[in-house]
């Protein structure tokens, strides 16, 4: 165990890479979730169809395949990404597809009377969603987004397969260098668990803050 812990510099590096991947991926996923999720309820058929194509494409094929496609196949068409960017794009686009369903579901869960009320106030479409519908939809989204965030963190481990030096990658290096097997993996499992538990706590706090003073039902998972 001491032998593994003596590799702490690269373990810290790996942890940082994993956290960066998770944060950047989460930002991208969040943006995509809102764009695609709101596009799903657009009044224009063409936009809805585009959103469905995106959703089915990224939800339907495997994340690992998407990652390899972005990193190994796209360069053949002259589109180059470094490994970290490719990892962020793949993680973000994949989780964003799942997130769009969360956004759509939450927006649709806001009652009809809210739409009517904003119409009565003569709000424009943009104002209606910006000031009335989405603020009420966000608290419904948060718990499920929390689950997706954990899925995203777990997905970043897969990015080690496209040569990103994240925690999983570092564990491999330590395994090869020390010929120990159990210890390096045990250490990174614990690190992943700690990161995930911190994320769960943060999401819980955010959920509490948003639901404070509001009498809403928080949708549980699934």
């Amino acid at each position: 165990m001491n032998q593994v812990l003596s590799f702490y510099p690269i373990l810290i590096d790996g942890t940082i890479t994993t956290i960066i991947l998770t944060i950047l991926g989460a930002i991208l996923a969040l943006v995509i979730s809102f764009i695609v999720g709101l596009a799903r309820i657009s009044t224009f058929t063409s936009i809805r169809v585009l959103a469905i194509v995106y959703l089915e494409f990224f939800r339907g094929s495997s994340a690992l395949v998407q990652m390899f496609f972005i990193y190994f196949v796209l360069p053949m068409w002259g589109i180059y990404f470094d490994a970290l960017t490719a990892g962020v794009i793949a993680c973000g686009c994949n989780v964003g597809a799942y997130g769009s369903e969360v956004v759509r579901g939450a927006v649709l869960a806001v009652g009809k009377e809210q739409h009517e009320a904003s119409k009565a106030l003569n709000y424009s479409n943009y104002k209606r969603y910006r000031y009335v519908i989405i603020p009420q939809a966000i608290p419904i989204m948060i718990p499920t987004f929390g689950n997706l965030l954990i899925e995203l963190l777990k997905l970043t481990a897969v990015a080690s397969l496209i040569t990103i030096s994240d925690l999983t990658f570092m564990a491999h290096i330590i395994r090869v260098q020390t010929a120990l097997t159990l210890e390096p993996f045990l250490v990174i499992l614990v690190i992943y668990f700690i990161i995930a538990s911190v994320l769960v706590k943060i999401v819980d706090l955010i959920a509490k803050k948003f639901s404070k003073g509001r009498n809403i039902m928080i949708a549980g998972e699934n």
């Binding site: 495997s62 954990i150 963190l153 897969v158 491999h172 993996f185 668990f193």
Partner: protein, 219 residues
């Protein structure tokens, strides 16, 4: 780089063999996930608080750590302790255990949905625990569970490419092997993606239909 049908047809036989392994892995892993998940759900309803908390943290640990790392643990560590398993067995074990923590939530929710009155009714009919489960609780609890369980089946199917990392030659690794030996990346990887789309989109639609069907039955 343009699409070449010659390459596509050349790689197909290898991919076909990979598809079989992928499907086998999905089926075996999902069966394991369902059985284990039900077991975990039942243990989680135990009267002892210690057992409940203990199982809760174990399942949370499995849920909050990446499948890939769990695969490595089983694949690389077990042989050190004299347990030699085939790569395929390792992969199926890990997938099954990982997703059993998800399916257990489905089972628990399904069982919780059966009202307390049903337990009391079973008791008043002098059923023992086994009979109550078999004749009263499970027949009511299972139908609403089917759509989410089907969704996890699709999810597991999409996670099988991870088994490639521990040398299981399933669809993804079959394509990767071809790519590496022929320096053709476009066709194999695209075909793999298309195959996943072909299988998972119709099954997702089917799962959605199931969901609607069971919802309308319930009311």
């Amino acid at each position: 780089m343009y699409w070449s049908w010659d390459v596509a047809f050349d790689v197909l036989p290898q991919l076909a063999r990979g598809v079989i392994v992928t499907i086998e892995a999905t089926i075996v892993a999902s069966l394991l996930a369902y059985v284990l998940g039900l077991g975990i759900a039942i243990i989680k309803m135990s009267k002892s608080k210690f057992i409940r908390v203990f199982v809760y943290w174990i399942t949370e640990f499995v849920r909050r750590t990446p499948i890939l790392v769990q695969l490595y643990v089983v694949f690389y560590v077990l042989p050190d302790y004299g347990i030699f398993l085939e790569a395929f067995t390792c992969g199926v074990l890990v997938l099954g255990i990982h997703f059993s923590t998800y399916t257990s939530e489905v089972f628990r929710a399904g069982i919780d949905n059966v009202s307390k009155g049903q337990w009391e009714a079973a008791k008043s009919l002098n059923y023992n625990t086994y009979q109550a489960w078999k004749n009263v609780i499970l027949p009511q609890a299972i139908p609403p569970m089917i759509p989410p369980l089907a969704n996890y089946l699709i999810t597991m199917f999409k996670e099988t490419p991870l088994l490639a990392a521990i040398t299981v030659v399933e669809l993804f690794r079959a394509a990767d092997q071809y790519s590496n030996s022929h320096y053709k990346y476009l066709e194999p990887m695209t075909l793999v993606g298309v195959f996943f789309l072909i299988v998972s989109i119709p099954s997702a639609i089917l799962a959605m239909k199931l969901e609607k069907k069971f919802k309308s039955n319930k009311v």
